[in-house]
Amino acid sequence: MSKELTGRIYDIQGFSVQDGPGVRTTVFMKGCPLHCPWCHSPESQAFRKQLSWMSMRCKGTEACDSRCMKACPQNAIELGETRKDSLTGNDLQMIHVKRDLCDDCGKCTEVCYPEALYLCGEDYTVERLVSRLIREKPFFKGGGGVTISGGECLCQPEYVLEVLKQLKAADINIAIDTTGFVKWEIIESILPYTDLFLYDLKHMDSEKHKAATGVPNELILENARKIAENGGKMQIRIPVIPMFNHDEENIRKTAEFCVSVRDAVTLVQLLPYHNMGVMKYLRISDKPVMEATPPSDEYMNKLLAIMEEYGLPAQIH
């Protein structure tokens, strides 16, 4: 008996308002070939199920008799800092996960009843995901539908293709949110079922692209051209990251590229860096996190004006 096809998902978000037109439900898939330091969903990067700890939910080791520490076969959980409970004002003894010892076995999550410790990532069969999405169809108004995002969702191509086929059969609008860093054959296979690509352009200079994200940009640009040649539609997304790609020169080059595939571009989104994702890093690692000051509204408006100068339909956010 062959193993049933499953996809690894770390979140499903209804009333997703930032991921394509209309009212959408976005499926976030795990695993990404890029490692952008500004990533606001760090839990999306690794494909493996990852031990996460949300301090807000932790009731303190006194309340649960340190069940997690006792359950850990690797002795990877130790006492950490204390936290003041916002409602009672009491100090709660928190834990700390020694990441070098933890192997994400998940034993501690089984005894953490408030689910402060949990494994991030869940395997869904096609049927389970599709049936849930179809149930939400009455809400997909205003050109809305389903967005498959990530991580890089196209790193799980067979699963995504099967989901797309079934959603299309149910006449649901589909958007694919992608880094573009995948083999053309994969994009080609899903193209017939995809109404819109949410397509990231992070930097026009391949070396700088590689230095920051770990991969060069040639394949990404090449795939964008091919999508355009094959009649696909793209909503270009440019994360505006201070000290990386925010300079006018890069933005102009990006605009020029967009102009070169103009017929395929429905919208250019300028997404200002924000630091709301910083706390998410703390759930899965101890490593220092990039923190920068978000670009000012004034600066974002300047970049928007540049896009408009090139005759591109653009917006901030």
Binding site: G14, F15, V17, V23, C64, L87, Y113, P114, F139, K141
Partner: protein
């Protein structure tokens, strides 16, 4: 494209004055009523009430404040509360005697020392001579002992009915278009006819009624003309020619309206305000609502604009001024009752939009003007917007923009669900289409249906969580008073103990038995109260315009209205649903604990069972996340409650109508509710309306809505309330509003009844708690009405913050 226009300088001045004036007590009404009642012990029933009101019309001070265009007040002092000793009094004297009024924790009131002295000297006259004390005497026998302090129904052996009927909407069409001159004449004609042909048989009651209508109709005309004289007096003394002209115009309006049909928009707004105030003087301010204001004002506005006698800007200023008069209105409650309705508000709900009696979209320019006034002044005047398939996109946008500024204003009410719910209680289609919202969220046909949706005002809520807990404890309440032995008094049916139950069917059967016992007892008590109130406190001022009353010769309280109904609201349906699911999962499916262990956990308020409690809270699915098991028990809880109350019949011959809206009573009732299987500890808040258990709607608004759609709204003729809080970021994008509107549309198309939105962040609220001085203008919808967040008491603030931020 939606735009907010700036307010005029004088609107700004009045608004500041209103926000900066600390509410105080005004004894003008009290003094007149006390003197009248002391001097007239021979008067009883409807004639006493009519003559008492007439005395107020003739002798209350008439006050026209600087800058005002719309006038009328219940006393002398600005933003003051009148006192209504003939309704209920003991709580007031208790608070007055311990000098608590000025210092209490919620809604304190200023009071002059001299007035206080007068109240202390005369107050004892009212202690037993008020509606509350009188109706206590008549309560059914079991209230005296067995059912007292049950924690399920809120009738006890004494101190019931501290608020009057309230929650009604008069017929403002008749008031504006017919006038009280014609109504008084109609009453006189009826009496003359009877005098000539015999006041025989049951007609004698009609004769009394018409006599009362004549007295109050003449009275309200006198009152209006006294205001006209005051406007004229001020005009004569006014040096500023512009203000002088205004005062003369006001005098003209006040001299004309009430007696005659209104001629224009200004006439109509002034007439509506004075009539509303008159009903408050008679019946006490308590959720007395305005109904479909855009509908009965629209024609005047359109005519004036066509005639060139009014500009949109001038009309908008008039509406602003009208709103500021509503903001002035407030009523002192007992401290306990105030906790459920904090923020100096009184629930004068306005209904906008919807379809007309033929089913066409009824939006008109006035609809937009009302939303505009709320938004541009950031005022918590409660408004409900009826929406349907044909609601214009511009109106949706204006409504969401308004709710962004004034959290929860307007509420969104779906014609698709509510019109059939009205019809299910016997209202024909064309009238059902004319429904409005009363008080909080209760639908009724304003001016046609005596809906009494709030029952007697205070005892209209049922704590179904305590009823459920009795099912697990052989009819004994589980609430434990610290330091005292466990309660042993059997009050409900003896349905056995949870640890004796061997299947979910047995559990459900026990819950059902409790519900079918307690709901009729609620109705028995409400009916007893109403039968006494109908004699002692009929309402001829309302009845004068109410469809059906003049025809039948009966007061609304006697069943004279064209349609009749009685409302009810349950509290805690979410806790009941979750608790039943937890019992099923924990005791019968997953077997984490036996029924004995769970029972012991509840009786010990979870002490010693923390592990089990955490597991229940953290690992079981909860209502509001589209989980089919959970939703199944929501259907059971909602239907069992609705069926058991809807079968009951009131004294006007109508069936009761189920509802589910808590104001902030879910917090107050929580104090008196034992621990529940869903992991809630004794004293913690209950669920808010049909909204999911606080902080348990993890999967976002669409899953929540799917769960809410498991409700049979047709059975909830008295309305439901669902609060959804959205973080502002979910609306930040260009098309954010249209996306939100689309979600609401989808919900309503699938049968959803009501939604209200709070688009604010938890951080904002926390900061507002810490620095109230910076957030004086932050309007928050507190379940069923809006209040200024900083004026809401702390537990309710915490409750608001805890509610999941949907978009995060």
């Amino acid at each position: 494209m939606y735009q907010k226009a700036p307010i005029t300088d004088r609107v700004k001045r009045i608004r500041e004055k209103c926000r900066n004036t600390k509410p105080s007590l005004d004894i003008s009404r009290y003094r007149l009523v006390t003197e009248f009642y002391m001097a007239n012990p021979q008067l009883t029933g409807i004639l006493k009430r009519a003559k008492n009101l007439r005395n107020l019309f003739e002798n209350l001070p008439v006050v026209i404040n600087e800058d005002e265009l719309i006038v009328g007040w219940q006393g002398k002092k600005y933003r003051s509360s009148a006192l209504y000793p003939e309704v209920s009094w003991k709580w007031f004297m208790d608070e007055l005697r311990i000098n608590y009024i000025r210092t209490r924790s919620v809604d304190p009131y200023e009071i002059d020392e001299e007035d206080e002295k007068y109240l202390l000297e005369t107050g004892d006259f009212w202690l037993k001579n008020n509606m509350s004390a009188i109706s206590d005497e008549y309560l059914p026998r079991p209230l005296q002992d067995k059912l007292d302090q049950s924690g399920v129904i809120f009738f006890n052996k004494s101190d019931n009915a501290v608020a009057p009927v309230g929650h009604f909407v008069a017929n403002f069409w008749t008031a504006t278009q017919k006038g009280f001159g014609a109504i008084a004449q109609e009453a006189r004609d009826k009496m003359t006819y009877m005098e000539e042909h015999g006041i025989f048989g049951e007609d004698v009651q009609k004769y009394h009624f018409y006599r009362a209508v004549e007295i109050v109709s003449e009275g309200i005309i006198i009152w209006s003309k006294r205001y006209a004289a005051e406007a004229k007096r001020q005009a004569d003394e006014c040096a500023d020619p512009a203000r002088k002209a205004e005062l003369l115009e006001m005098a003209d309006t006040l001299d004309w309206i009430m007696e005659h049909p209104c001629r224009n928009f200004h006439d109509a707004l002034q007439c509506i305000y004075l009539y509303q105030l008159a009903m408050c003087l008679d019946a006490q301010l308590h959720g007395i609502s305005f109904g479909r204001m855009d509908q009965y004002l629209g024609r005047y506005y359109e005519k004036d604009i066509a005639d060139g006698t009014l500009t949109p800007e001038k009309a908008q200023e008039l509406v602003d001024m009208f709103f500021l008069k509503l903001m002035e209105l407030n009523k002192i409650w007992s401290e306990e009752a105030t906790k459920s309705n904090p923020g100096y508000t009184c629930g004068t709900l306005i209904t906008l939009g919807g379809v007309d009696m033929e089913g066409r979209d009824a939006t008109n320019p006035v609809t937009y003007m009302f939303l505009q006034s709320s938004a541009r002044m950031s005022l918590n005047v409660p408004q409900a917007l009826r929406v349907h398939e044909g609601t214009p996109a511009d109106l949706w946008e204006a409504a969401v923009e308004t709710t962004k500024v004034c959290g929860g204003i307007p509420t969104f009410e779906s014609d698709i669900a509510i019109i059939p719910a009205m019809m299910r209680r016997g209202v024909p289609l064309e009238y059902a289409r004319n429904y409005c919202l009363h008080g909080c969220v209760e639908p009724g046909i304003g001016g046609y249906e005596w809906a009494q949706p709030g029952g007697n005002g205070t005892q209209s809520y049922i704590n179904i969580v305590n009823a459920m807990l009795m099912a697990f404890n052989n009819g004994i309440g589980t609430m434990k008073v610290p330091g005292q032995p466990a309660n042993t008094k059997i009050q409900g049916p003896e349905t056995g103990y949870l640890y004796e139950m061997e299947s979910m069917d047995e559990v459900l059967e026990a819950v059902k038995k409790q519900f079918y016992f307690w709901m009729p007892w609620h109705a028995n008590c409400t009916n007893t109260w109403e039968s006494i109130a109908a004699f002692h406190s009929p309402l001829p001022m309302v009845s004068a315009t109410f469809a059906g009353c003049m025809e039948s010769g009966k007061d609304v309280m006697w069943g004279g209205a064209m349609f009749n109904s009685t409302g009810n609201s349950c509290i805690g349906v979410g806790n009941v649903a979750e608790s039943l699911n937890v019992i099923d999962q924990v005791c019968f499916r997953k077997k984490w604990a036996t029924t004995r262990e769970l029972y012991d956990a509840l009786m010990n308020n979870w002490e010693g069972y923390e592990e089990l409690r955490q597991r229940i809270v953290g690992q079981l699915p909860h209502f509001g996340n589209a989980d089919p098991d959970c939703d199944k028990y929501m259907t059971f809880a909602a239907n069992t409650y609705a069926d058991s109350i809807n079968q009951c019949v009131g004294p006007r011959g109508n069936h009761y109508a189920a509802g589910c809206y808590p104001v902030t009573l879910n917090v107050v009732f929580g104090y008196f509710t034992g621990a529940t299987p869903d992991g809630r500890k004794q004293g913690e808040p209950l669920t808010d309306g049909i909204s999911p258990v606080q902080a348990m709607d993890k999967n976002g608004p669409i899953c929540t809505m799917q769960s809410l759609l498991t409700f049979d709204y047709g059975a909830y003729g008295n309305g439901t309330l669902c609060n959804m809080k959205f973080h502002p970021t979910s609306l930040a994008a260009k098309d954010g509003i249209s996306k939100l509107v689309n979600v609401m549309k989808s919900y309503f198309e699938q049968g959803g009844m009501e939604l209200q939105l709070n688009i604010i962040s938890g951080d904002t609220l926390r900061d507002a708690q810490a620095h109230p001085e910076n957030y004086r203008d932050l309007v928050v919808r507190v379940a069923g009405f809006s209040a200024y967040f900083v004026e809401v008491f702390k537990d309710s603030q915490d409750d608001l913050i805890r509610r999941t931020e949907m978009a995060l």
